[in-house]
């Protein structure tokens, strides 16, 4: 396992994320149909397709530049709440990485933390509000606990925690986003944004496992 991750990992991550979001498009749409407006899968696939095309057209020089490019494209193309949320997340993550070429455990933790903080700044959701924050926050905590075990372990811990966090949104009553219109009726269903977060962080871990 590599002791640091570089641009190759970042690009592999983003491609894997795009692939899984395209593959899980209908699943995300179904989740959003029940407690939202049935577009989260479409939004995410459209956003990542555009983001990957942009990375192709204007290849970034560093992991931070890759994340910044994705951020801008997601902001512009997603069309739903996930656009400004993931856009801000990737933008703040890019800022946290600066122009570093190799990312160690601490850099990855800083990246994840900045992403989560960006989503909170943009969406003002608290943990337990049944949003993507409920996947990001346990992911950041788990990554923090795994610092020192190497990048792949840090990202695996984050992905595992995000998956559990997404699952744990099921009993919650939504207090932010469209699902909050449903009130109590939102309970019993998984939050689509928490699920897409889980997919994206799993892609990061898988790419690291291959690095």
């Amino acid at each position: 396992m590599a002791a640091t991750l570089g641009l190759d990992w970042a690009l592999d991550w983003l491609h894997r994320a795009g692939a899984v979001l395209a593959e899980q498009r209908m699943a995300l749409i179904e989740l959003d149909r029940v407690i939202g407006d049935a577009d989260h899968g479409e939004n995410m696939e459209r956003g990542f397709t555009a983001a990957l095309a942009k990375l192709e057209a204007a290849p970034p020089a560093t992991p931070g530049a890759a994340l910044k490019s994705v951020a801008m494209t997601l902001m512009s193309t997603v069309g739903g709440a996930a656009g400004p949320l993931y856009g801000t997340a990737f933008l703040r993550a890019a800022t946290a990485l600066g122009d570093a070429e190799e990312l160690d455990d601490a850099a990855l933790l800083a990246m994840l933390t900045a992403a989560r903080d960006g989503i909170v700044a943009r969406g003002k959701a608290d943990p337990g509000d049944k949003t993507m924050i409920d996947a990001w926050t346990p992911a950041v905590d788990a990554a923090g606990a795994a610092v020192g075990q190497g990048p792949a372990a840090v990202l695996r811990a984050a992905a595992d925690a995000a998956a559990l966090g997404a699952e744990a949104t099921e009993p919650l009553v939504a207090r932010k986003g469209r699902a909050s219109y449903l009130g109590e009726r939102s309970a019993g269903h998984r939050d689509p944004g928490a699920q897409s977060t889980s997919f994206i962080l799993r892609a990061a871990a898988d790419a690291a496992g291959n690095a």
Partner: protein, 126 residues
């Protein structure tokens, strides 16, 4: 001086119709619509919002009105990209009712803070 107004909606029709409605009582006010996604679906567009802020603010400032929460998030993102201009404010107001009140205030020469306040104190029904 007249403060410009930007309407950010998930629907291009709502944004355009709102501007037409507001223009009736505010013929001298710059009313800009940023509705729908770039490819014409229901949703919001960062590009449209950023262009709309520029078009609405002709030098005397601008006030932004939004429909749902994700429109607010896009508007806030746009303002961040534009360097958080000090003469552009986001109103926490119901879209249509707030817009008419804001447009009338702007037509009367109110500044950014007063236009925003007019929007925010608009009643649902008059």
């Amino acid at each position: 001086m007249t403060v410009g107004i930007l309407v950010v909606s998930h629907s291009a029709k709502i944004a355009e119709g709102a501007c037409e409605l507001g223009a009736q009582m505010a013929p001298d006010v710059r009313l800009e619509a940023a509705g729908g996604t770039d490819d014409g679906r229901i949703g919001t567009s960062l590009e449209k919002v950023m262009a709309g802020v520029d078009a609405a603010n002709t030098g005397d400032g601008a006030v932004i009105l939004c429909d749902l929460g994700s429109a607010v998030m896009v508007a806030e993102s746009a303002l961040e990209f534009l360097g958080d201009p000090s003469d552009v404010a986001l109103a926490d107001a119901p879209l249509i009712e707030g817009l008419v009140a804001a447009a009338v205030a702007a037509q009367g020469g109110a500044g950014v803070a007063a236009v925003k306040a007019a929007a925010e104190s608009a009643l649902a029904l008059q």
